[in-house]
């Protein structure tokens, strides 16, 4: 069941729709009068592009009562979507000819696309992270991996001491140490696959037949720690993307604003 949208969200969506409609009508009217509709639509587009960039400023001013960031996020997303029809209204839906315009168009589509991807990730990933049943801060992931590996190695030392065998320890060194050493199966975690589980089951099945009854509890402990490592990797993948995405979207959006400003200046100097 879909959650009922908040009143503010509804207001933002309606306002954005109204903005597109007004811009469209104005451009159409200008066109009929044989004026240059791209001037007005360009101004609307530029102003609408500036508004989402205020999001970053608002973030820095968190101590001031300027509305909640949740509201600003909704506004940012809605304006991001609004920019697409406004851009088409201004530049047309076809790919431009000039190199500069092509760069501008490419950046515009890239920023829009990266924004859409980010929005989808922010909508979907939190729930998937929660469903792991484990909460871990991104900055603590490296130390968690080390802790996990140390637990495994301490457990295997105890195993050797208690059972007098080295089968499981050898198996760990030959096949599993890499798994515990660094994040693994990142793409599969992103896509929601179970490849790491399948891979681990194969590794444990392979060794199970060589273990005695006194050794099997150690295998179970190893499996539990391997599962925990899988969850840490899952968090690393999804939380990492949630952070990495901003390092792509923000520089691209900044570059777009710089190109747009130059475009604005060039049009005013040479064309109007």
């Amino acid at each position: 069941m879909l959650a009922r949208p908040k009143n503010s969200t509804l207001g933002i969506i309606l306002s954005c729709a109204a903005l597109v409609a007004v811009a469209g009508l104005y451009a159409h009217y200008d066109n009929l009068l044989l004026r240059r509709p791209e001037i007005v639509s360009g101004y609307i587009l530029l102003i609408t592009m500036l508004l989402p960039s205020l999001f970053g400023v608002r973030k820095k001013l968190s101590v001031l009562p300027l509305g909640t960031m949740a509201f600003w996020t909704r506004l940012h997303v809605a304006l991001g979507f609004t920019l697409l029809p406004l851009y088409w209204l201004h530049a047309g839906a076809s790919w431009p000819d000039g190199v500069y315009e092509q760069a501008l168009a490419a950046l515009f589509y890239f920023v829009t696309f990266s924004g859409l991807v980010g929005w989808l990730m922010q909508s979907r990933f939190p729930r998937r992270l929660t469903q792991t049943g484990m909460e871990i801060q991104f900055e603590r992931i490296p130390s968690s991996v080390i802790r996990c590996r140390q637990q495994v190695e301490n457990m295997l030392l105890e195993y050797q001491r208690e059972t007098g065998n080295d089968t499981l320890a050898r198996h760990y060194v030959e096949n599993l140490s890499g798994y515990f050493f660094r994040p693994r199966f990142l793409l599969n975690h992103l896509l929601g696959g179970e490849l790491h589980q399948f891979w681990l089951r194969g590794k444990f099945r392979a060794i199970n037949r060589y273990l005695g009854n006194d050794e099997k509890p150690y295998l179970e402990k190893l499996q539990a720690l391997a599962d925990e490592k899988g969850i840490i990797d899952f968090h690393y993948t999804l939380q990492g993307l949630l952070k990495l995405w901003l390092f792509i979207h923000i520089p691209a959006a900044t570059s777009l604003m710089v190109l747009a400003a130059w475009h604005f200046a060039a049009v005013h100097i040479y064309s109007i």
Partner: protein, 570 residues
């Protein structure tokens, strides 16, 4: 050694470093000992490490109130009791003084500009402090005071305080009871960490000895006479005040109320120091079977239970366990449904739910026969319908409530609840908190998790703030107006008592640096000077808690579990 050479130094703060009145000299303490009520205290009973004179010098001050001035205000959080040395005061009974006449002080919040300028004024040094401020405070103790002796032979210190408007002209119109000379009041709020239950106004010019709760605690501990007075006064005042202020008895006459008070039993369940057991039990939540039973399902309903303080869990037997239906806190009541059914049917109907003490619970047991006599006069006798809650289908909200009660999160009035299904783990909340506190975050986005809910390690501003217990200087306190639990950095000696007392690990001790980034050390031990820090709900910021406002996903709320709709966002 090079590091030590470059470090700033500061003498390690001590128990007596932050006296209640820095102007009080040893000579003044001698004069205080001539006050009859103080003279009755046996000094010999006090240990050498904590002498009565030390307590008086450190934890007491004399204050004067002119006729018509407010001494204490209802609903304020106060950490001190008052002994009326001379003059006459009056307790204002409900409906009380209009709030606009109470002269409440406005919160000092930063202006928009001050708030904005934090962007560049925030220190780049972590936990930096202007240590000259502490040194300046220490110098104050050596200054001349304004002590004199009045005609009664008692000591007067003119505090020169303004305590709200003068109510002299309003006083005759109010419903009041007199408080004679020698009365001790405010001790319930001081010792039980509750808001003041009534406003007290000076009818004549009054001289009062104000004793902060640390001193009151010590005097009560070592002197049996004061212990007896405080305990008797506590019982008497708690009982009558709670009955008088309870919504059930709003229209009841004083005589009828007195008759009810005469037959009402005051019962305490659990431990006032509940947090010690809670911490000792480790991270596991408290099982309902471990909680003291107050009233058992199936037992004869002999009266109404009014919750005076603490928390109680209402539950019913479900399968082989117990289902938590709700929890009760001060002002709530239990057993009314069965009593009403008894009156209607004339049959003995037993209790349909159980009540357990969660931590500690103070209960007023009003006998059913006494209540039956005045049932016609009781204005708002509404059933609680706990049993109807048991008929609801099992849901996640049940689980959440049970968890909140077992983990004692119900104690919080501003618990930081994060919906992990929405949280994008961006830590903007932490960054915002840091920006609001000179570059130092005051909470961790980390805590206990149940399903999609996390209660983060941020101060919950508890209704029973156990962190206040044991603070030797009173640095951690409730702000009078907002009820926000805050730490006065100037008087904090970094002893860690509050951090150790907090059952939720929400107070942190930090090593301080001076403005240049040098570690501040105690010259005697060369160990760092520590200060306790915690969430102050951004009380100085113009827009309230920055963390909530900074959340881009609307995942965070500051909540009170009593409002489950708010908790679940419905």
């Amino acid at each position: 050694m090079a590091e030590l050479a470059s470090a700033a130094t500061l003498s390690r703060p001590q128990r007596w470093d932050s006296p209640f009145d820095p102007n009080l000299t040893p000579g003044d303490v001698e004069k205080l000992l001539r006050i009859p009520e103080i003279a009755a205290i046996d000094e010999e009973r006090f240990p050498r490490s904590l002498p009565l004179r030390g307590v008086l010098g450190n934890d007491c001050r004399l204050v004067r109130r002119q006729s018509g001035e407010i001494i204490i205000r209802a609903d304020d959080y106060g950490n001190s009791a008052f002994l009326l040395i001379s003059g006459l005061a009056r307790v204002v009974l409900p409906p009380g003084i209009p709030i606009e006449q109470l002269g409440r002080q406005e919160t000092v919040t930063k202006s928009l500009w001050e708030s904005f300028s934090q962007l560049w004024k925030n220190s780049s040094v972590k936990e930096s402090r202007d240590i000259s401020r502490y040194q300046q405070q220490a110098k104050i103790t050596g200054e001349e005071n304004r002590v004199s002796v009045d005609t009664l032979g008692t000591v007067i210190i003119d505090q020169g305080e303004v305590n709200g408007p003068n109510l002299k002209s309003l006083l005759p119109q109010l419903h009041t009871v007199p408080l004679p000379q020698g009365s001790l009041f405010g001790e319930i709020a001081a010792l039980r960490r509750e808001p003041r239950s009534a406003t007290i106004v000076a009818d004549e010019n009054c001289l009062l000895l104000e004793i902060r709760w640390q001193g009151l605690r010590d005097i009560r501990k070592y002197d049996p006479g004061w212990r007896n007075i405080i305990d008797q006064s506590y019982r008497k005042n708690t009982l009558l005040t709670h009955l008088r202020e309870h919504e059930l008895f709003a229209g009841i006459s004083e005589d009828a109320l007195q008759r009810i008070a005469d037959c009402t039993l005051f019962e305490t369940f659990g431990s006032f120091e509940w947090f010690s057991d809670f911490q000792r039990d480790g991270t596991d939540s408290v099982n309902i079977d471990q909680e003291p039973l107050v009233a058992a399902e199936g037992d004869y309903s002999d009266g109404l239970l009014l919750i005076a303080a603490g928390f109680g869990r209402v539950s019913v037997k479900t399968g082989n366990g117990r289902r938590t239906l709700t929890y009760l806190r001060s002002g709530d009541y239990f057993g009314i449904d069965e009593l009403m059914a008894n009156w209607e049917t004339g049959e003995d109907i037993s209790l349909t739910c159980s009540l357990h003490a969660t931590g500690y619970l103070d209960v007023l047991r009003v006998p059913g026969y006494a209540l039956a006599e005045i049932s016609e006069q009781i204005s708002q006798l509404t059933p609680t319908n706990f049993r109807a809650l048991a008929a609801k289908p099992f849901s996640e909200a049940d689980d959440l409530l049970d968890w909140a009660v077992s983990e004692r999160f119900i104690n919080g009035t501003q618990a930081m609840l994060i919906d992990l299904d929405k949280c994008v783990r961006c830590d903007d909340c932490v960054s915002a908190c840091s920006r609001a506190h000179d570059g130092n975050p005051r909470f961790l986005r980390h805590g206990k998790v149940l399903g999609k809910w996390m209660i983060a390690n941020a101060c919950m501003h508890c209704s029973d703030p156990v962190c206040l217990i044991g603070c030797p200087t009173g640095a951690i306190h409730r702000m009078a107006e907002q009820g926000v639990v805050t730490i006065n950095d100037d008087s904090c000696i970094g002893c860690g008592v509050c951090a150790n007392s907090c059952p939720y690990s929400n107070i942190r001790l930090v090593e301080i640096n001076d403005k240049k980034g040098r570690a501040v050390l105690d010259p005697a031990t060369q160990l760092p000077i520590m200060k306790a820090t915690k969430c102050d709900l951004c009380v100085e910021q113009p827009g309230g808690p920055s963390c909530v406002r900074a959340c881009p996903a609307d995942a965070m709320r500051r909540i009170d579990f009593h409002d489950m709709d708010m908790v679940t966002g419905q």
